[in-house]
Symmetry: D2
Subunit: 157 residues, 4 copies
Amino acid sequence: MSEKKKRFIAVIGGGECSAQEAEMAEAVGRELARRGAILVCGGLGGVMKAACKGASSEGGVTIGILPGDNNKEANPYVKIPIVTGMGYARNIAVVKSAQAVIAIGGSYGTLSEISHALQSGIPVIGLNTWSLSRNGQPDNSIIPAQDPTEAVNKALT
Amino acid sequence: MSEKKKRFIAVIGGGECSAQEAEMAEAVGRELARRGAILVCGGLGGVMKAACKGASSEGGVTIGILPGDNNKEANPYVKIPIVTGMGYARNIAVVKSAQAVIAIGGSYGTLSEISHALQSGIPVIGLNTWSLSRNGQPDNSIIPAQDPTEAVNKALT
Amino acid sequence: MSEKKKRFIAVIGGGECSAQEAEMAEAVGRELARRGAILVCGGLGGVMKAACKGASSEGGVTIGILPGDNNKEANPYVKIPIVTGMGYARNIAVVKSAQAVIAIGGSYGTLSEISHALQSGIPVIGLNTWSLSRNGQPDNSIIPAQDPTEAVNKALT
Amino acid sequence: MSEKKKRFIAVIGGGECSAQEAEMAEAVGRELARRGAILVCGGLGGVMKAACKGASSEGGVTIGILPGDNNKEANPYVKIPIVTGMGYARNIAVVKSAQAVIAIGGSYGTLSEISHALQSGIPVIGLNTWSLSRNGQPDNSIIPAQDPTEAVNKALT
């Protein structure tokens, strides 16, 4: 099967994260790989590393779109490092390269990725992440998930 | 006085906006120019155009950092068009070029700019714009303002 | 073997090209795949498509780093489409993601990629492509190759 | 007169340069300012700094489109610092923001800017800079100038 026909799913979240977030990210990565999806992420530590670790443990393909100038900054579970040299502008490529995004926790960088995804019409599934309201009205664009399996189910719908 | 010593303030918001938002943006632009600040924006329509119009009416300098390949896409009140050809990646340059950001209304593109600003430690003042909570806890990083004058006051603090 | 240990080689050249250039690109792609290298390119037509076709015919992995907003612009032989939405800024990611670059023919876009590679200290092997002189003195940084096999040999040195 | 009606001319060249190149760049900057053009550059040292110094000495407007995350990296003669955080991708914005480009000496970064300009159909005037040949045939797209005044004349044609 062509990998182009495969689903590309981005997993986003903090470069540093709690143990609970890492556990969720690893479970998400495992489940994506089991179901044949290709994992796209920002290639660094925290949630990104845990998700890549999970995917790798199931033999999945992991893509890390890096902000800096060197593929050595990739975490050890990234199989395909993309070196952009463009700093946080790479956040845009992370989400645009995916058919759906799973956000786990995360800080403002993650929020920028959520925003760019929603702006591009790419579904965002959230696990313990940001919620939004606009001018006082809740914006429910981020699809909530209760656990990693539900997140992956919703991403691969 | 060197313009480099001047304050650069970004005004962000929708490329389409309500009449009320346009009115606020125009007032913000006027007030920034009266106080000698240089206006930075994304250079297009809606809030960006209204802010540039206000600043221009007071003789202010207006910078429009454009997503496309042509300075003709700038609104007519942009004095300094910067042509990036980089699409939404230009959002990052809009906020990084400013010492503070004033967000007026806006959709996901504006939210991405808010996120990039907060990630870079640049203060964001909000007028009828997004509010955030993270993992169920309110994130009060966006500084609320009641009206254009208060927003400019807070941006120029 | 981890794909990260594999060599990533960029093949650059015109989005439109002569039949001879396409033939060379396809041979380069085939040879890279036979030798286990991963092909990185800009993902579009001409030299990029021919190189991907060659690599695919030998079961190789092909990465296309796209300028636009949609993976549908990728040629049909791209297995890993990276969607940047950043226009020609993606040229930088194409070369930075590689350990060596093979340039085949090409116009100014290709010349920009050659320049970015040389600026980053990434070797460039040339097949019927640009040659340079600086202030009247030849600059021999582009390593000439006589044919696709020699180009691949030099890229994988 | 609206500054938008003014001509924006990019001056490109090495971040380090010879005394002779600095003298030429300063003369180019002065002449551009005398003739009412706005100077666009990469905002750093060498040719960029000398050109900004020349333009400033005649009261000209100088724009520096910076690669890093901080306007403090701008040379002291930059009046309008644009902070991109995108590394060398900012080279593209430097040339796209101009109606013509004057290249003075320079290394591979300058060559990338020349390439991006020619790719975008923006005229490039050269002073002691790169010359090109493509597949063995000279490419005369870079318009030669003998001295700074001739370079400015050709840029403002």
